[in-house]
């Protein structure tokens, strides 16, 4: 190696002191921007409220969610029953509180299915290309030819109506969104120089895909997952409302709405509050998803 002895050499210094102020990582930077945004902060608060309610449900609920009290059926909201009672005298507030657990379960399981399968298909299609891409993407096109709730209904028809099957159906229906987003991100990431470098030092496809390509696709995946949780909760509630999801005894918000329909004229509170709960939770995930999209988008960086 050539040396340049004539050049004045700088004294060795503590590298930490002279280093440029370290720029925050993508994630830290995104988190700062996320918290600064008013709407995403509201979304974050709504989701935290949902999670805390689910964790502390037994402490927050004023009654057992399934205990019936026929004499006190269709009671209007009062100090005893904050949001009234339903057709079997069950306390609506307590059922909504316990319903948060079901909503989280739906969100995690359904979006988990969509994400795992979708990411796998998207990675394989985008990274390996050629006939694998062709087959996978045509399959995705076919799935996307069905309106999502209708495909979910078709799948529940095959599997039989239950909350578990509704979650699986909603999860399967969400696969195309993940597959398409991951594929397009993989297509751009795999052309980058660091992937070429990894390949040139002899890294195997699996290693490149999971250690280098996938971590760089995380931003759009996280945004999609957040938005998908809201959609999954909405679709699963829709299925339960149609009688294709949770059984009536389970405090699932869509099923509660379905039960309360018959008493809409006389006891509107039976449908009002579970619906509001769905709206607020889905709103929370949509606000956070929108905020995350802006926060993780380098173009939005000031």
């Amino acid at each position: 190696m050539e040396t340049q002895p004539n050049l004045p050499t700088e004294p060795p210094v503590n590298s930490q002191k002279t280093a440029h102020p370290k720029s925050p990582s993508l994630w830290l930077d995104a988190l700062q921007r996320l918290v600064k945004s008013k709407t995403s902060f509201i979304g974050l608060c709504l989701i935290l409220l949902l999670i805390l309610t689910a964790i502390f449900a037994p402490l927050i609920a004023t009654h057992e969610p399934t205990s019936q009290d026929i004499i006190n059926r269709y009671q209007a909201p009062s100090s005893e029953h904050w949001l009234g009672t339903d057709e079997l005298g069950r306390d609506i507030f307590s059922r909504i509180v316990y319903g948060t657990r079901i909503s989280i379960q739906i969100g995690v399981i359904a979006v988990g299915i969509s994400a795992i399968v979708g990411i796998f298909l998207g990675c394989v299609a985008g990274y390996f290309g050629r006939w694998l891409d062709l087959i996978i993407m045509r399959f995705i096109d076919i799935l996307m030819a069905f309106p999502s709730i209708l495909l979910a209904i078709a799948l529940v028809t095959v599997m039989g109506p239950s909350l578990r099957n509704a979650m699986i159906a909603v999860g399967l229906v969400g696969i195309p969104q993940f597959a398409r987003i991951v594929r397009s991100t993989v297509l751009s990431v795999k052309e980058t120089e660091y992937i070429e470098a990894a390949r040139s030092i002899g890294a195997k496809n699996g290693k490149i895909l999971f250690s280098h390509v996938l971590p760089n696709c995380m931003a759009p995946i996280i945004v999609q997952a957040t938005l998908s949780i809201g959609t999954a909760i909405l679709d699963a509630a829709g299925l339960s409302f149609l009688g294709l999801g949770a059984e009536p005894s389970i405090p699932e918000w869509g099923a509660m709405l379905s039960d309360g329909r018959a008493a809409l004229q006389t006891s509107p509170w039976v449908v009002t509050f579970p619906g509001l709960a769905i709206l607020l939770v889905v709103l929370g995930f949509n606000l956070l998803g929108d905020g995350l999209r802006d926060a993780l988008d380098p173009k939005m960086k000031q």
Binding site: I149, L150, A154, L234, A237, L242, L257, Q265, P268, G275
Partner: protein, 334 residues
């Protein structure tokens, strides 16, 4: 343009074949004997065998699929297990109701959504922008079945100004020509029927149109904001063009393209959402038909209606793509 249309139509064929395979598989994916599942546990062996023979369930799968496709191409969708009627006839009776509702909801969503989006973009950060975009955020998150119930409670139960169910009041007579009630009432110059059909459409149309309306409003706003930054808009303003001309002729014309794609995609959402909306408003369309078939395990009806809805959705997306090409001739197909 012509070769683009041909290529785009050719691309549909594998998708439609895939859709037909998926809907065909529906019956065969059901665990256990589909005939027993359809007729119930009480059915005797002779009845089960008769249904299996009638539906060709004893034939090899490839032959069943061949027959299924051949029949579809001839317009034969089979028979309903429950009503024993031809599914094609039953669908033809119900489809106009769903399409009328979906189109009404879509027109509502486009008019309100595009207008709100344009005003919000032009008056960025104004009170209108804040209120309409907050409303759009709620709209995107709306459980439409709940919104439908709340509207029934307010407008039908409390205020008694809108009908809660059906397509037409019992005391109104209407001669049917196309089965689209608004069109039929115009064709027969039956204005009381037009008003009645319109009032019946209003609540289900709003419920169904809420989510697309919100999405269109958000999309129009962001697309307009993008376009309004362009040099040609500054030029148009600088040469003293009236602001409404700048907004609608120069900006919206260019901002509309991404909105158009959203509109095409939302149509599928409307067809799916029709199942929920039709259930709430007792709307005699294909959505309620498919739900009753699911609950009654009438699998041939489920199979056929889902196939038809998917085919409509695919064709709507094709039309959207062609319109896109029409509006923006720069688009290349590869």
């Amino acid at each position: 343009m012509f070769s683009y249309i041909i290529k785009r139509i050719l691309m549909l064929i594998p998708v439609l074949i895939g859709v037909s395979i998926l809907t065909f598989s529906l019956i065969h994916l059901i665990p256990g004997d589909p005939a027993k599942s359809m007729l119930g546990e009480k059915a005797n062996e002779a009845q089960l065998e008769a249904l299996r023979a009638e539906m060709g369930l004893n034939d090899p799968l490839y032959s069943q699929y061949g027959t299924y496709v051949a029949k579809i191409l001839q317009g034969d969708l089979g028979e309903s297990v429950q009503s024993k009627e031809s599914i094609a006839t039953e669908v033809a009776d119900r489809l106009p109701a769903t399409i009328e509702l979906a189109l009404f909801a879509m027109v509502l969503a486009i008019i309100v959504g595009v207008l709100a989006g344009v005003i919000a973009a032009v008056k960025q950060y104004s009170w209108f922008d804040n209120i309409s975009m907050t409303g759009a955020l709620f709209g995107v998150s709306m459980p439409i079945f709940w919104l439908g119930l709340m509207m029934i409670w307010l407008f039908s139960v409390q205020l008694n100004i809108l009908p809660a169910s059906g397509r037409l009041s019992n005391d109104i007579q209407l001669g049917l020509i196309t089965n689209f009630y608004l069109i039929d009432s115009i064709l027969t110059l039956n204005w009381p029927a037009f008003k009645d059909a319109f009032l019946h459409l209003l609540m289900p149309g709003i419920a169904l149109g809420t989510i697309p309306m919100a999405i269109i409003a958000r999309m129009t706003r962001s697309s307009m904001l993008e376009v309004m930054k362009q040099d040609y808009i500054r030029t148009a303003n600088a040469k003293g063009l009236a602001s409404y001309l700048v907004i609608f002729q120069h900006a919206l014309k260019n901002a509309f393209l991404p909105v158009l794609t959203v509109i095409g995609l939302q149509f599928g959402l409307l067809l799916g959402g029709a199942v929920l909306t039709e259930t709430i408003f007792s709307w005699p369309g294909i959505g309620r038909y498919v739900l009753n078939a699911v609950l009654g395990r009438d699998y041939p009806v489920v199979q056929s209606t889902i196939l038809i809805i998917a085919a409509i959705f695919v064709i709507v997306n094709l039309v959207t793509d062609l319109l896109y090409k029409f509006f923006d001739p720069r688009i290349k197909y590869d």
